[in-house]
Each structure stands twice: as C-alpha cells, then as structure tokens.
C-alpha cells in the first residue's frame, strides 16, 4: 500500500509536530508513507473566500504531487474535504476525480482503511474532543447532533484506545469554534466570541488538553487560550495517538 502524506500549508509552517506525529504513527502501523515534496496548499483559503476561480494553479500542483498513490492521508478534515469536494482541473479531470476518491482524513483512514483496533499509546490527561465542522458535517467522521441517527465517532474510538486518557463530556458536543478561514478576520467579533465560548466549554469540564482532527480549529482556540494565559493546551489527535511514554 503506497500512501502519500498530504500536509496542509499552515500545518507545515506552524504545526510541524502534528505532521511528524502523523508520519510516525502511520509508519509504526506499517504503512509505506511518501511525502511529495512540492506540495503547498489545497486552495481552500481562496475558494472559501469566493475565489475558487483562482485555485487552478493549486489544483494542478496538487494533482501533479498526489497522482499515482493508493491513498492520500491528511491530518486535517477541512483540507481533506476541500480536495474531496472541489479538486477539479480542466486538463486533468480524470486524475482529479481519482484523487478525490483516494483522499482520507487521518482518523477515518485509521478506522476505515487500516481498521486499527489497538494502539500502543498512553496519555494520562483529561482531554476534550473538539469536532471540527468540516470533519464532522463534511466528512462525517462522527455523528452529528442535529440528526436522528446512531452515534459514532472515529476520533473518539481511537482516543479510547489510548491508556490513561479520559475524554471529558461537553455541554455542546459539536458547536463551531468560529475559525471559518477568512471569517476569523472579516467577522472578528463573532469569530472570537465563538472561539471563547467553545474554549470555556472544555475548561468548565476540566479538560487539560483540547484535541481535534483539525488544526485550524485548534490554532484558533490556542490563540484564545494563550491570550487568556490558560494552562489548557491544544494538541492534534495524531500527537496523542503517537504518544507513548515509559514514565
């Protein structure tokens, strides 16, 4: 199984630890992981701002980098969803269609493709799980609170395999954190209020860490936590799943 690692631009630049953890975790599970070195960005920042027509360059670059793999795995639900829904190329549409079918967010890849049932991992902390909207309502990696349907959660299922980890319940299990790409600056007041309220929910329930399958949400909440000089930290789900300490 030949797997390409798709590292979103802001993860590459600001959160390399999450990408390293993703790579190491996949390698530990015996996956042959390749990192196409000319990758940049999925194009979502432009597209969500109404500039999808400017993403041709990003799309073609993405196709060049990620064609020919069995799977493409990404530690971000949002970027995965963007590729799944919006990767097009007038010249290489066939390849684009193929890639759209092969791209997976990390936790869904672990659960649905690798069918992971146990992990050698420990993390003796109280953890709040933030459901990123694109992972949740776009990729459906967990059940959505609005629907009348059986409950499940792929990230929670994996976190349950981690020794010592205690998932804290939340008052609002899947309310948005307010990041929303350019929304976070264009609608600064509402965005930061949403982030603040989301963070408060985790803190009130005693979370020491907030985790998620999406770093954009975590980056937003981290900005708020650090401004509040809070002891609560954010951590990508891959870093927890890859964490094993003998102490």
């Amino acid at each position: 199984m030949k797997v390409a690692l798709f590292v979103p631009c802001y993860v590459d630049q600001f959160y390399p630890k999450a990408a390293i953890a993703t790579l190491e975790l996949l390698e530990k599970l015996g996956v042959d992981v390749h990192y196409p070195k000319n990758q940049t960005c999925c194009g979502q920042p432009m597209a969500n701002s109404g500039y999808e027509h400017l993403t041709t360059g990003c799309n073609n670059l993405f196709i060049d980098n990620f064609s020919g793999y069995d799977y493409i795995v990404c530690p971000s639900g949002s970027c995965t969803l963007h590729i799944k829904e919006h990767l097009h190329s007038p010249e290489k549409e066939e390849q684009a269609v193929d890639i759209r079918k092969r791209v997976y967010e990390l936790t869904e890849f672990l659960v649905d493709v690798l069918k992971v049932t146990q992990l050698k991992a420990n993390f003796p902390y109280k953890v709040g799980l933030h459901q990123s909207c694109h992972g949740l309502r776009g990729l459906r990696i967990s059940q959505m609170s609005e629907l009348v349907a059986p409950a499940f959660s792929k990230p929670a299922q994996l976190l349950d395999m981690v020794q010592g980890l205690e998932l804290v319940p939340l008052t609002r299990q899947d309310d948005c954190c307010g990041f929303g790409g350019t929304f976070c600056v264009a609608e600064e007041a509402v965005s930061s209020k949403m982030g603040k309220d989301r963070v408060d929910d985790h803190i009130e329930h005693g979370a020491q860490y907030i985790t998620s399958a999406d770093l954009s949400c975590l980056m937003h909440m981290e900005g708020i936590l650090r401004r509040q000089k809070s002891d609560v930290k954010v951590i990508h789900v891959a870093e927890i799943l890859n964490h094993y300490s003998h102490e």
């Binding site: 590459d12 630049q13 600001f14 990192y35 990758q39 940049t40 990003c58 949740l136 509402v190 930061s192």
Partner: protein, 461 residues
C-alpha cells in the same frame, strides 16, 4: 425593514458584541430552542424519512410550479376566493391598498407574514394613511418599539422581558416596572381584543396553499390569524408562489416538521384551513413573485425556495446566535436569509453569504433539506465574479494564489519568517490584524515539516 445605517453584517455584529452578557443571553435563549427541537425530533424514529419526504414533495412543487399554481387558482376561484397576481413588492402593496381603498377602510389588523415584511407593506400603507396593527404578540412588540423583527418565528427574541415591560408601559399603559410575562400578555390581549373587534380588514400570511383543493393553511400559536380573519369583512392573504403543496395528504408531512423544527412543539396550536368565504365576507389571495422566479431559474440556488420558514437554521447557527437577527439587515435573517437576500439585491447583501463559518449545522436541521451552507459557498463565488468583493481582498487573494501555486515561492517564503503567514486566511487584512484583538498569533517553529523531513531523509542516507 431595510438597512438604514448601510453597515455590513460584520460591523453590526461587532456593535452587538460590545455587550457580552447580552450576547450570552441571546445565544443561550436560541440554543435552548435548538435543544427543544432536538428533543422533539428524537421522539420520532422516522424523522430523517420525514425530512426526505418533505424535501422531495417540495422538489416536485418547484419542478411543476406553474401547473400547481394554475390548479390552485382554479380551485380557489371555484371556492369563491378572489385571486390576484403580483409581480413584485410594489404591485403586491398596491393591490392591497386598492382593496382597502375600495371599501373606505383605513385600519387593518395583520397576523404574521414575512412576505409583507419583505415587501415593506406596513411602511407603504402608513404612507397612504392606513394604520396597520400587527396581532402576533412578538410582532406587536417590535412594531411598538419601531423595529423590524429579528427572527422569522420569534420576532422579538432579542428583547428581554423588562424591556418589553417598558414598551408596554409607554404604549399600552401597563404599570411602570411590570415585567411579569403573564401580566404583560394579558395587557396585550386586552389591547388586541379591541383591535380584532373593530377592524373591518384582516391580512394574514399563508403557510401552505393546497393545489388540489384551493384551500390555504395558516399556522399560529396565538390564534391571532383566526381572530382577525373571522371578525373582518375582508380577509386578504399574501403568499409567495413557493407556498404551494400538491395535495392535502402532503400537509401532514409539513405540519409534523414545521413546529418541531421551529420551536420544539409537536404541532402549532392553531393550524387553520381557509377554503371559502363566510356569507357576507370576502377572501382575497395575493400571489407574489418578487424575485422568486429569478431564483427558480438559478440552478444552484433554486431549492432555497423549498423553505417553509421554520427558523431552525437561525436557532442552530452560531453566527446568528452571537450576532443577532438585526445584524443581517434583511427581513429574513440567518443562514436562509443569507441565501435568499442576494437574489433580491446582490450588491446590498453581498456581505451576507460571508457571515458564516460554513459549519453546516443549518443544512442538518433544515426540515426540507436545503443545502444552505453549500449555497452560501456558491453565493460567495457568484458575488466575487460579479465584482461585489473589495479590491484589497481580491489583490490579497491573487498574491496568495500566486505564492501557493509555486513550490519554490512557497518554500522560500516559508524560510523568511513564514511568509505564508502574510497571506494566511487569518492575516489577510494585516494592516489592522483583527486576529490579534482577541487572540495570540501562532508561534512560528524553528523549522517547517518540509525542512524537518528533508533533514531526516539526509540523516538516513
């Protein structure tokens, strides 16, 4: 009511957020309604099937709209109802004015109709010297406060009971400082009773118009539509062309969904059928287009016309909850309003499709399965292409697209202080840097993942 200030959603939302405890109160109030909706929905194992059925019935209606409208008109006329057609808001308002003028009526009672808000009927009739009193309690409150409704189902949800007490004290003579909802409601009842008994004309909205029978159905919790219509000599019902359902049997699907979605009630208190006029009275229906057939012609946006105006998308929307209905500066606020309004005036409402994080909760609660958040995304593309996006944003986006299309530029940019940050979505407007107002910037690590990966590879060699 139109946006008299000319301010955008973001500016109005920023003003709303100056009073954080009030934002919390507003957010909690609407979230409580969302939770009531969840409780009711979860009591029906067939909930998702009901949504799907309603969606398909409405899809059928939109695909055969002209046929159903003609069928409805013919049956309504047969029942003794007088039918009028209005191309736009102006014609709608003129028809109603004429009907009142012909009878020498200068006072009218009106139950809730978002269509008349959309058409600004009250303002129009006021200019013509006709006094309109809204009989829905929430609408009466905002009318006395000289404000537009902030929510299509809960028009005065932005007002606290103490504020309502002050308004009633000023206008209806309740005791100063009285804020007991029961006492205030009784004050409104006495006031409205006099109105119901003395008005010769009553205007109502229409929730569902049944093509098969030519009857129409109005849902209220207060019975105010019935009180007005039964006591008046002329009942005028305003309906948008999309309110049609094909057959009476379909009504059950929608009545089961409507208030469960709207307020978490199993059914509206009054679901009244109007089929033929009582002896000595008239029923008129004004069927209004006002841009709907243009929306019907927009393939990506046409199914927004499936909306049954339950307001569930507003209650669940975190942006609506934390910015308030008035920030949307349009008659129908929230996610659904943000996909309907640009059809009426793309320039004026260019900000609304961007007043969303695209979280998708709206589409999940929608009882007729409108893909609201996908349409918000699509409206953004249309608005930018039509040139209603700020030039500075376009320039930043072009620079960002250029950098991100080139691995070399991207990598060199990264090395000199994480240049991608300059174009990153949270720092597009870096002269003002709104991110930093309430949030710390991410810390730039010593090396990017790409740099780490190369070093590891070299180490292995």
């Amino acid at each position: 009511m139109s946006n008299v200030t000319g301010k955008s959603h973001a500016e109005l939302a920023s003003i709303f957020n100056q009073d954080e405890p009030r934002v919390d109160w507003h957010d909690e109030t609407l979230w409580w309604i969302r939770q009531k909706r969840d409780v009711q929905a979860h009591k029906l194992p067939e909930w998702e099937l009901l949504r799907e059925t309603a969606s398909q019935i409405k899809n059928n209606v939109l695909s055969n709209l002209s046929t159903y409208l003609e069928q409805f008109e013919a049956n309504a006329i047969n029942n003794g109802i007088i039918v009028h057609w209005a191309t736009d808001a102006e014609e709608h308002n003129q028809i109603i004015h004429r009907l009142l003028q012909e009878r020498g009526i200068n006072r009218m009672v009106k139950s809730k109709s978002m269509l008349t808000e959309e058409c600004h009927l009250n303002e129009y009739l006021k200019e013509q010297g006709i006094d309109v009193i809204d009989s829905d309690l929430g609408e009466r409150i905002v009318q006395l406060a000289n404000e537009p409704p902030s929510h299509i189902v809960l028009p005065c949800i932005h007002k606290k009971k103490e504020e309502i007490g002050d308004i009633f004290h000023e206008h209806l003579g309740s005791a100063k400082g009285e804020s007991d909802p029961k006492i205030l409601t009784e004050t409104a009842r006495q006031h409205l009773r006099e109105v119901f008994l003395t008005r010769r004309a009553a205007l109502t909205g229409v929730n569902f118009a049944i093509a098969e029978t030519g009857e129409f159905v109005i849902c209220t919790n207060e019975g105010n539509a019935d009180m007005g219509a039964h006591l008046a000599e002329i009942h005028i019902a305003s309906m948008g062309i999309e309110k049609i359902i094909p057959e009476r049997k379909h009504l059950g699907v929608f009545l089961r969904l409507l208030t469960r979605s709207a307020t978490g009630q199993p059914i509206t208190t009054y679901s009244s059928h109007f089929k033929r006029p009582q002896q000595g009275t008239d029923i008129h229906i004004v069927i209004v287009d006002n841009g709907r057939s243009i929306q019907l012609g927009r393939e990506d946006f046409r199914n927004s016309l499936k909306c049954i105006r339950c307001g569930a998308c507003m209650n669940t929307c975190p942006v609506y909850r934390k910015s308030g209905g008035h920030s949307y500066h349009t008659a129908v606020a929230g996610p659904i309003g943000s996909i309907l309004a640009p059809n009426l005036d793309m320039k004026k409402y260019a900000d609304l499709p961007f007043a969303s994080t695209l979280c998708g909760s709206c589409s999940n609660v929608c009882p007729v399965k409108i893909d609201i958040h996908d349409q918000l995304y699509k409206w953004r593309q249309v608005i930018v292409k039509e040139g209603y996006s700020p030039t500075a944003k376009t320039m930043a986006m072009k620079a960002m697209a250029f950098t991100l299309s080139s691995p070399t530029l991207y990598r060199s940019g990264g090395k000199v202080g994480r240049l991608v940050f300059k174009y990153a979505p949270f720092a597009v407007n870096n002269s003002l840097n709104p991110w930093y107002k309430h949030r710390e910037m991410p810390k730039a690590p010593e090396q990017s993942f790409g740099e780490w990966y190369n070093k590891r590879k070299e180490g292995k060699q």
